[in-house]
Amino acid sequence: MEDFERQLKYALARKEQPPSFEAKTFAAIAAERSGRGMFWRWEAVAASILIAAALWAQHERGAREQAAGEAAKAHLRVALNITVTELSKIQKTVNASQAAAGRPGEDE
């Protein structure tokens, strides 16, 4: 019984931690925090890149569509210009022909 008490007293006796204990503990905490921070930082960077790429792609698509639309509009203007000009020339010739024949045209 005495032996048991002695062993228990020894086990529960206050012991001073070694001098390196505190340093080791703080180093371990710092390392853990640093690792987790790096992970979140990389994730944030990757997300930013993805968002930037998506925005850039959207902008490019919009710019391409805008350019294509403006080009189509320009082509349409050219096509209508030639059409209207030719129709007007034909109308003018018809009017002249009618005038020469002594028949009044529709626009007079």
Binding site: H75, L76, A79, I90, T93, Q98, D107
Partner: protein, 181 residues
């Protein structure tokens, strides 16, 4: 076997041949001789794209938007040559040949013996409405073919003069233009 292949090819290539009046490849060869060439090919998709970029707030653009709303395509080939005789009648004959159907009728034919200018306007009627317009204008040094597919109102077209960046052409009568038909 060959019939099967031809059938499959027709089905597969059918949508590519959506253009009703085919402008002959010989016209493309004229481009090499021409001093000025205008080649505009606008199918329904391109017209739709252009329409999206026409403003409803601008009166001119709104007018054009309405005009092209029922169109399936606009095809223009215009060649200007340095001298006369660079193109032959045979170059435009394939176009005329396609118009020899009951659907197409010539509404205007103008010929000036003095200047050598000829112009023809054909319209395609579908269910009593205009479903297409073709202009064939030849001058000694110029050849222009305009093919418009779809519901088109020639009067609305003429009204475009002076709008949408299209110059207004004076169509008042002139005398002494020559002997016209």
């Amino acid at each position: 076997m060959w019939i099967k292949i031809a059938f499959i090819a027709c089905v597969a290539l059918g949508p590519l041949g959506a253009q009703e009046i085919k402008l002959p490849p010989s016209l493309d060869r004229l481009a090499a001789k021409a001093t000025e060439v205008v080649d505009v090919t606008m199918d329904a998709n391109l017209l739709q794209l252009a329409s999206r970029f026409l403003s409803d707030k601008d009166a001119d653009e709104a007018h054009v938007k309405k005009l092209i709303g029922g169109l399936k395509g606009i095809y223009v080939r215009s060649f200007e040559f340095a001298k006369a005789g660079e193109y032959q009648e045979s170059d435009v004959e394939p176009v005329r040949a396609q118009l020899h159907t009951p659907a197409w009728s010539r509404i205007v034919g103008v010929r000036s013996q003095k200047s050598g200018d000829n112009a023809e306007v054909y319209v395609k009627t579908e269910n009593g409405k205009i479903g297409g317009l073709l202009i064939l204008a030849t001058e000694p040094k110029q050849l222009t073919i305009v093919s418009i597919e779809g519901a088109i109102d020639p009067d609305q077209l003429s009204e475009l003069g002076g709008h949408f960046g299209i110059p207004k052409v004076d169509t008042r009568k002139e005398t002494g233009h020559g002997k016209d038909e």
